[in-house]
């Protein structure tokens, strides 16, 4: 315990002098306006559109400039129905509103939207506040993916609640995945596969990032009945209580969460998803995902890999201290900037402001971090952002691991259960000193594996900025 305290103290002192990797800045909002930002769309000529929970859409100019005091705003429209997902294409802003997927534009050129086209409204709503609709940007086929929240926590009283649907460019709705509870955001990885975040609750032991494989079941059977509306096969009905691994082995349509964000340890309410394809403009995290967090006002970092046809990977703490609960995040690949917005109306957050719009830019300095964590048949490989000190990083005692899973059950959330303590038996450094292969006895298929790398030092003698990694080991490679 004394040793631990010492490390923590060192780390604190260290972090205080190395807190300049990323600059978070508040983007000034129009004075007197309530800007509970629910959607962000990147537009041509470095303009940004934001939508608010109250239904306004504003266009922001100057959000890329060094001097944010010159930011200007123009109101495009007001009174839309809580858009949670917006993108720009071919002169239109496309919006996932509660009741419909639509597109709007200013045809007359007077700065005020005058054309509001409904593209699809084939899902149900009944007036319950919980029936949110989170929409993506278009995928490689031009389809937009919309995750439809359940009615309240425990029921699906309107058509297709608890499903993800795709809206094709010609306005057709394709029911695509079942088993959704309460989404917070939706997006794609670098391969173009769709993911969403789902919040802890009924049939959801902990929040997670989930892969929306077409035809899949995501674990919550509340909305299963709607398969009948489209003559689809009935989704799986999991046993209660059970485990995700046990249930998905019974039915391969049950796709497990790609990365679990252990409740409380890595946020409490994950939201927007953005993929870094900037080629290094935001640091070395190419093709990784950034995931917003409402309750803890953070952005987490996720690296994914596919093993035996299933996505899995690790989540790391990344950015924190945002001014309100984050909902949408957008990453500009050209500029290498994260734009983040949010609100804490109805759900509390660590950030104390009622709403916020912020950007994060990289200073060009890279922190000493675990860049990627990937699974092997006998352990994990860690790639680091810079060469490690071989003595500390090659010492198995510099690492520790614990593993657990959650109960799959109809009640709200789950404790961490089935705890295991995998043993790190060796740590082998690569010739370039930038990666370490950990041999581990006692990996547990299906469990979250929490790796702490407290003793690891960089070649310069620095500890990791974030020593915790949480890897969801759905599959152990052969």
């Amino acid at each position: 315990m004394r040793l631990l305290t010492l490390f923590l103290t060192l780390n604190l002192a260290h972090a205080a002098t190395h807190s300049d990797y990323y600059n978070r800045e508040e983007i000034p909002l129009p004075k007197g306006e309530v800007m509970e930002i629910s959607s962000i769309a990147l537009m041509p000529e470095k303009q940004i559109a934001v939508a608010t929970r109250r239904g306004d859409v504003w266009i922001c100019s100057g959000a890329y400039d060094d001097d944010l005091s010159k930011v200007s705003w123009k109101k495009l429209t007001a009174g839309l129905h809580e858009p949670l997902g917006m993108f720009y294409k071919d002169g239109w802003l496309f919006l996932s509103q509660r009741p419909e997927f639509s597109r709007i534009k200013d045809s007359s050129g007077n700065g005020i939207a005058d054309t509001f086209e409904t593209i699809n409204a084939d899902w149900g709503i009944n007036g319950d506040y919980h029936e949110y609709a989170f929409g993506s940007t278009p995928d490689k086929n031009g389809d937009v993916w919309i995750a439809l929240c359940l009615t309240g926590s425990a029921s699906a009283r309107s058509d297709w609640r608890g499903w993800c649907v795709r809206i094709t460019p010609d306005g057709k709705m394709i029911p695509t995945c079942s088993g959704i509870r309460s989404p917070g955001g939706i997006g794609f990885n670098a391969q173009g596969d769709a993911f969403y975040t789902d919040n802890q609750g009924l049939w959801n032991g902990s929040s997670s990032l989930k892969w929306l494989k077409p035809g899949s079941f995501q674990g919550n059977p509340t909305g299963n009945k709607y398969h009948k509306l489209a003559d689809l096969p009935a989704p799986p009905q999991p046993a209660d209580p059970s485990r995700i691994l046990a249930e998905r082995l019974k039915d391969p349509r049950f796709i497990p969460p790609a990365v679990i964000f252990p409740h409380g340890k890595v946020g409490q309410s994950p939201t927007g998803i953005a993929c870094d394809q900037s080629g290094g403009k935001f640091g070395p995290w190419e093709k990784q995902l950034y995931v917003g967090e409402q309750t803890h006002s953070q952005v987490q970092r996720v690296c994914l890999e596919m093993v035996n046809g299933i996505y899995q990977g690790a989540v790391f703490h990344f950015l924190e201290g945002f001014e309100a609960g984050l909902i949408p995040i957008r990453f500009d690949d050209e500029a290498g900037i994260i734009f983040a917005g949010g609100s804490n109306r109805g759900w509390g957050s660590r950030g104390k402001k009622p709403f916020t719009f912020e950007r994060v830019r990289w200073t060009g300095k890279t922190p000493f971090e675990i860049l990627t964590m990937t699974a092997n048949h006998d352990g994990f490989t860690l790639n680091f952002t810079e060469p490690v000190d071989p003595t500390s990083a090659g010492n198995p005692a510099s690492y520790s691991m614990e593993a657990w899973t959650y109960i799959l059950q109809h009640t709200y959330g789950s404790p961490e259960v089935d705890q295991a303590t995998p043993k790190i038996t060796s740590a082998t450094i690569s010739p370039d000193n930038k990666s370490v292969q950990l041999k581990i006895e006692g990996l547990v298929r299906g469990h979250v594996h929490h790796l702490e790398s407290i003793g690891v030092r960089s070649a310069k003698g620095e500890p990791l900025l974030h020593q915790d990694a949480y890897y969801t080991l759905n599959e152990i490679p052969n």
């Binding site: 604190l12 600059n23 005058d114 409204a121 950015l319 109306r345 009640t411 915790d468």
Partner: protein, 504 residues
Amino acid sequence: MIHRLFLLLAVASPLSAQDGEQLYTLYCSACHGADGKGATGGAFPPLAKSPWLKGDGQRAIKVVLNGLEGPIQVLGKDYNLAMPPQGALLPDDQLAAILTYVRSAWGNNESAITPNLVKSVRAASTDRTKPWTPEEILMEHPLPLEVTALKNITSSVFSGSWTELPDFSTLKPDSVEEEQFGIISAEQSPKEVHFAIVWEGQFIANAPPASTKKAGAPYTFALDADDSARVFIDGELLVEVTGIGPMGSKRAKTEEIWLTQGSYPIRIEYLQVNGKKGISLGWKSGRKNQNKTWNWLSEIKGDSGPIWPSIPIKPTAEHTAMYRNFIAGTTPRAIGFGFPGGVNLAYSADRLTTELIWTGPFMDGGHHWYQRGQGNEPPAGKNVIKLSNSPALPAGAQFKGYKLDDAGNPSFSAMIGDSLLTDAWLPAPNGLTRKFSLSGQGSDPVDILITDLLHPQPAGTNLYDLANNLLLQLEGVNLQTKNSKSFISLTPGQSATLTYTWKK
């Protein structure tokens, strides 16, 4: 403006049960606030000095285990949120540690909660699958009575068949009782009808002076009664409810008074004639229009209005206002338009027609823009007329959206087979004009529902009295009625204009 971004520090030790404060910070503080006052300036219920934490610990244990959903009042303020259940997440020892911390922090001074108590409460509530409603939990664990600003109150009960408050100086009471909790109630008489009660005692005024130049501070009193009541402070009549009738009507009154800190004689007179009985009396520090917490001196709490602020949505002189949200009286896919001049409509994108029209104020956004915004909000104006209540176009018709002209006047579109119907609305003197145009190939007429709720009475050439002083004038088309539904019928290429006018 620029913040250095502080990256997260590793939390190296798993939290054990002793760390009640740390566990609270991790799981609870985002909503309830690190200071226990409710996050975001009190948008969430406070735990500091909350009566919900007082006394028997089981109330709080049950709420944390299974959650709580619905309207509650804490320290005089209303909330309507959902506390998610934490029972599956938190083991007995951690939950006990959190509640022990909460019950002793921020001025709370309640006993510790043991893991064993949590364990037994959990075991006894295994069959509960849903969050508690406020009614359920308070039935099992009532809140302790709070001390009110009324002191040394006596109630004198009189019998008699008066129709207005009598001169009590000539009357002899049936009984006189002390009311030690400082709460008044019509139940303090055993009778149901034909009685009166007089309460006498002191009102303790505690508000600090409104400014350095003033000795006193404003107070607002709210009185309502079934049937009559009046309140005297310091011998002066302050507020009076006259006549016979139910509570919750326009007879309810609020009045202001300036008081310096101190104790004032108060006298409350109440008369029950017949029908139901009841009295509510509340006060807040501040002027009538100030958004302050009401303190109730009566068993019945008065109607202190909606818990959300009023945020009127208004058109400008040049442009309509739009509001897409859940509007009471029509379907969930509602689209409201408020026109300059005080006429309004709500179009149903489910039923493909305007279902509501009204005059006066358009909508109030406060309901949907406060907390989670649950529920339907009615039009803000009076005189709401519901035109129809069923699909207006043939089955299979699809909503295509709407266009706005430069003034924001909407033209709604729907596809009916290969035909496109536009339904454009403009403000008109004392009403609204509506122009239908059907374009497309073919010659099959399309029936368009105009009303299935009103019964148009002919009032001239193509002129109908719809109801409530509302006239409908048709041009270019006839109104047809079958099975008490009124339609117009258009063929592709045809247009029609309908004008709705409120008679002055």
